[in-house]
Symmetry: none
Subunit: 213 residues, 4 copies
DNA sequence: AATGAATGAGTCTTCATTCAT
DNA sequence: GATGAATGAAGACTCATTCAT
């Protein structure tokens, strides 16, 4: 009577099983092509349970999105030690990012490949991405200030977009190549982004040729 | 006033109408959520014609993919004048790319946001992307050779991936901001990519701090 | 002006082409699975022509049915020479029947395999079959009378049904075995039917065992 | 009054209901003209259940075919008592056959009228028919051996084809005449087939007239 | 006379979602 | 708490049939 028999798993555990199953299925099928049946099967649970615990398919997908997004953010934020020189911060953030993608390929696929095109979730996703962009832009800004230089916020944001896009592109490649080394990817990305950003920060600038039409 | 009876158009015209409508609908709904009914409506034609001319939904999506992919490639390739210094080539290619995205937002959405996650099309898309990556890698290689330096092909490819990813990211931002200036985006991207690539090509290299764990 | 140019084939020829094409297609697909498109293609003619000449799909199928049915009847009737002893008449009729099936496999398939199950045509078919049954029953009757014996009409009809069924069964087998010899089949059938009917006519009769439950 | 809630029946029951409904509908409409909607209605159940339990329309038809085919075979085989004189065996088999057809008119229609013409099922059907043909041929063979005579296997098979065809023809007639007496039909068929086969087995043989052209 | 273009209507099939036990 | 049974709604696809040229 007092202590419940734990034969029937506690709610939290069940929910986690379901979410993991859902991420797996969504990652390989996409939102629409994934069926609640397949997800329930994958979780080894009956369909009504899924509804009871996590609500509609849309809510389920959103839950997956938030779980993976949060994990990713936490991985990155947890890796960035303040008070370090900011190139090292960038490096740590990137390394955490690539490590995460390497270790959570399914989650990455849901975030990057599936959520992007599905109307109802694109906004959620954009919001998460914005947070990352801002973080990166913030890093760059602090880097500039440290050098006594200054750039318009809009420019910073664009640069951050480019950096993040490049990192995502490499991460996506990583997700398809299980044997690739995440840390190596992070190093390459750092090289690319940092020297690029670095030389920009150093005031180097490329200008379009005059006769542009 | 004079003639326009909008019926009994010749096949080629109708096909183009349908493709355009399909791109529009696929771009805003995604492959699964788009219905053939909506596409037919958008094209101002009945569903059976769509099937008669373009085949199944999958074939239709593929047709959209190839049309937009080809247009994009042609826009870029047509803009790159050989015999120019290679930074200027890169610049022209990028400018053409951003202009294309600015002018064909729907097509871009189909290519970049929708096709990526849908299993049956991901391969087609990856093939197109590979062609671009190779072109970019080729440009970089020629740039290196011109400087008398050399980099492993694998490294080149990774760099190309990063560059393309960065450009795509900015392009995607552009697609969501109708007022943004494509040429300006191209300039920013050039700045970012070129100074980055430039400083790498110049031999600058970033190395991870020793105590990496 | 006076004599029409026969470039455009005369109506009768066209109609025959269409009917032949229709028989071919109906025989291999069945009524429902056959499409007017396929029939038009097979006839090398556009669909509206088919409608103009032969009317709806149902009318077309009926036309096929009647054509093949009539051909079959004419083949049989044309082969039966009156005034011959009636076993020889039966033989000639059977031989003509098997020859027809061997030479018009498609027509046979339409008659025997396709029309039977399709509600709107079963009646037409049954009517044709009835005519044959009656002919056969008539033959048997004349045979009996010649022997000074007599059998109830109902019994005769049943016997005719059995004979016709047996012949159809063999014919159907023949239709699937292009190398089989129609005359040989006719002989076998004659053997079977004639000795059977013959011994019945001769007054032999089998009776069920008494303890039937 | 007391209990009958007609809902939430166990799977096996529902499956049988569906099969019965399907046989009914297929028998009167044919495979193509039958709609899954009508079948579901007839079964008093919603369409998705039909798909869930019995699969596609084709699978459903096949299931009907096998059910009825099996029932028929079992009825016949169950009626044939070994160790009886073989004419009595034949008699019992025939009687069971006609009784079955009389009692399962729909099943018979599916087997004999509908399945024959539909390409994907003709093979299944032919296989069942072959089994019966072989059984009959076996009976005939044993009859011959008992008489010390012998006939080529091919001839036996043809004779079996004829016998089965005759029986089918009568059975089909029976299916359309609800008031006819199955046992009477069996007797007539026995008479026909047995005296026919009997006189053949006795060595009587009909030969075509010499001047055949 | 002849046909490419066009469609209304209908069918199979699937899926998210909910009862009843 | 847990699930087998059940369905409304919707979407892909096809086809007989008819215009307009």
């Amino acid at each position: 009577m007092s202590t419940p028999t734990f034969k029937r798993l506690p709610r939290a555990v069940r929910e986690q099983q379901m979410l993991d199953a859902a991420v797996k299925v969504f990652s390989r099928r996409g939102f629409h092509a994934a069926s609640m049946d397949e997800i329930a099967d994958e979780a080894g649970i009956s369909k009504p349970m899924v509804y009871a615990y996590l609500g509609s398919k849309e809510e389920l997908f959103t839950a997956c999105l938030h779980q993976e997004g949060t994990r990713l953010m936490e991985a990155i934020v947890g890796a960035v030690v303040p008070d370090l020189p900011f190139d090292e911060q960038l490096w740590r953030g990137l390394r955490a990012f690539f490590r995460f993608v390497g270790a959570h390929r399914d989650g990455w696929a849901v975030l990057y490949r599936q959520a992007r095109g599905e109307r109802p979730f694109a906004d959620d996703l954009a919001a998460m991405r914005s947070r990352i962009i801002e973080v990166v832009a913030g890093m760059l800004d602090r880097g500039l200030v440290a050098q006594g230089r200054e750039v318009r916020a809009a420019e910073l944001e664009v640069m951050a977009y480019a950096l993040v896009g490049a990192a995502e592109s490499l991460a996506d490649w990583l997700a398809d190549h299980p044997d690739a080394d995440p840390d190596g990817m992070a190093t390459r990305m750092m090289n690319f982004g940092w020297t690029g950003a670095g030389s920009m920060l150093a005031g180097h600038q490329w200008r379009p040729p005059p006769a542009a039409d």
